[in-house]
Amino acid sequence: MLSSRTHGYAIITDPDAPVREFDSVMCCHCQRITLIKPGQSAADCGGFCRLCFAPTCGLCADAGVCVPFEAKLERAEGRRVFLRGVELLGSGLGPGAG
């Protein structure tokens, strides 16, 4: 069953073995998914960011800096948003224009 405190649910169906089910958590910085074993806390799966107040993966915990994933999305999409904002996108003057 999908718990409201977990971030995802996985099920493995094997004809030669019992069905196995796992809950998972998602890193709030990079979206990496970690399956959790019964009895583990979310922090056991990596770390916990006290700024985002959400679990992180081991790699992001080791990095030690808080860069929320939404900030990364804004950074990735930022150039396009800027060009649209100054009305260069689609005007024939922006990237890809002749």
Binding site: G8, A10, I12, D14
Partner: protein, 152 residues
């Protein structure tokens, strides 16, 4: 915000992707991967070991074919802008240290993952950015990856 489903298949390769979902080169949209199912599609069962990974990519690579994502709601008449590719001959450019999901699976088994609402894998609306579905450990048998995603 339309929901789509698409299936990708190929003979598993340790170096080439099973498939990819990438934003279009223009008029791209952000999408969220919410649900996926994968496993071997071979008619003859076997006991090969697979490692499946979902990794961010910055280009679409060269796909053998491009399956068309099907709208889950027939009322959504607009086609998906997200581009699906399968059976790549040239891999998408994979982003280092951005393996979002990795799991081993026996060839006989099927694996399904469902994300909680709000915890889907999100791909930015950046041209050609997306997710690649790979089998870095695999046997050379047919395999399939089914993805359900929502375009923003």
């Amino acid at each position: 915000m339309a929901n789509f489903s698409v299936s990708m298949t190929r003979t598993a390769s340790t170096t080439l992707s099973v498939g990819s979902l990438t934003a279009a080169a223009s008029a791209m949209r952000r999408y969220k991967l919410s649900d996926w199912v994968y496993g071997a599609a071979e008619g003859t069962v076997g006991d090969g070991v697979f490692e499946w990974e979902i990794q961010r990519c910055t280009t679409a690579g060269t796909a053998g074919t491009n399956p068309t994502p099907a709208s889950i709601d027939p009322g959504d008449t607009a086609a998906a802008t997200t581009v699906c590719g399968q059976a790549h001959s040239a891999n998408p450019t994979l982003t280092a240290n951005q393996v979002l999901y990795a799991a081993g699976l026996n060839q006989r088994a099927t694996y399904r993952y469902v994300a909680q609402p709000g915890k889907e894998l999100i791909v930015p609306a950046t041209a050609l950015n997306g997710l690649a579905f790979t089998t870095p450990i695999s046997s050379a048998v047919a395999c399939r990856f089914q993805a359900l995603f929502e375009e923003q």
